[in-house]
Symmetry: C2
Subunit: 233 residues, 2 copies
């Protein structure tokens, strides 16, 4: 158990999840947790396991995925600084998703029992947890509708617009992670992702390796028919 100075990471304390809680309580949580470094491509946990730790990705890139019969599908790509698998920890139920690092990553591991105990005592933490779960739920609603009523090129278009929005509406950016992972996230094969980029070229999107440039945001938005209800975060 490689302990590290957690106090050095103020971004953890500034997370929406921990931000509003009592200082002493936060200290209690953080001092009971530990920060660990993982190499790329390492499985952090698997679907079906008991949820022993709340994870907070401090640095790196993590993939949440489900491996069914034969094929896998990635459910989410976690970027720092974000907590993940809150729901399993909260309910003390087995993980529904597996997690692996995509790049070398630093993860804060908060023991699930500790988390549940402190949540019961600290109302602000409970409220933040509730809020986080509600936003997570809404994310999933969006993802499911996206999957159910958009076709592949539209899903890609929307993803690019959202990704761009996350980086301050940059019209030129680098995709994080491999394209095969992106394909799986968007519910298509890598071959099809490639072709989808092809059809977006006609809507003013140019791709060179991981570098994507949105030449004509309006055209892309018209093609993507984005969600009328704006994203929550």
């Amino acid at each position: 158990m490689s302990l590290m100075r957690i106090g050095e990471k103020p971004e953890i304390a500034r997370l929406p999840l921990f931000r509003d809680m009592d200082d002493a309580m936060r200290e209690r949580v953080l001092s009971g947790s530990f920060l660990q470094v993982f190499p790329p491509q390492l499985t952090l946990f698997e679907r079906g396991q008991q949820a022993d730790f709340l994870h907070v990705l401090v640095d790196g890139l993590v993939e949440l995925y489900v491996s069914g019969t034969g094929r896998d599908t990635t459910m989410k790509i976690v970027e720092p600084v974000t907590s993940f698998i809150l729901a399993a920890v909260m309910t003390d139920l087995p993980y529904l998703m597996s997690a692996r690092t995509l790049t070398s990553s630093r993860v804060l591991l908060v023991p699930a029992a500790l988390m549940r105990e402190v949540i019961r005592k600290d109302t602000a933490l409970m409220q933040a947890t509730m809020h986080e779960l509600a936003l997570g739920y809404r994310d999933m609603v969006r993802a499911l509708t996206d999957m159910k009523l958009r076709q592949s090129a539209e899903r890609l278009a929307n993803h690019l617009l959202e990704f761009s929005a996350q980086r301050g509406n940059a019209w030129d950016f680098e995709l994080s992670g491999e394209k095969r992972v992106l394909a799986s996230l968007l519910g298509m094969t890598p071959e099809n992702l490639s072709r989808a980029f092809g059809t977006l070229k006609e809507q003013g999107v140019s791709v060179n390796g991981a570098r994507v440039r949105i030449e004509d945001r309006a055209a892309l938005a018209a093609f993507a028919r984005p969600d009328p209800v704006p994203a929550d975060r």
Copy 2:
């Protein structure tokens, strides 16, 4: 606003959401709410609207759906007694889904502001809300993986098994609602649902109108390859 004696409905007080809260607080919530009867096919609210009420379906059948460009898709069929759209109410964000009654329904409408106010004061309610949201999140994770890595007949098979499980593993039951709605819930067209029932006939499923009979549960389960992690509720 047709008020009704809410005290007559103890199943509301017994809901997981309200069960553990302070009695006086519960009384406050319920007396500030009202029970209303809606005819079939009535829209209760639409995606994009401000979330004014937490809804609790007391009686009847409600469909949560999203209407995108051209097509619709149903996200959930709500059976009594269940609360719905908790996440929108909690976060005070616009609804992500629309709702309509499928049959004549009685719905308890809890003003969202009241709900949020009482949640802040009553820790047990907050905890129950948190738990409910976590379970809802997990439901959506399941639905999304189902959509992403199972094909249509498998989705139907799984749905039938789960539906059967909900009714105490009955091997013979009635589908609730129309088949077109079920098709939409499962992410396929009515035509395809019909064909999917056809392929399940070979796995020992017989259908007559809304009546479904599972002749060989083992064969159906083998075909469906159900989720290794058991359902939460």
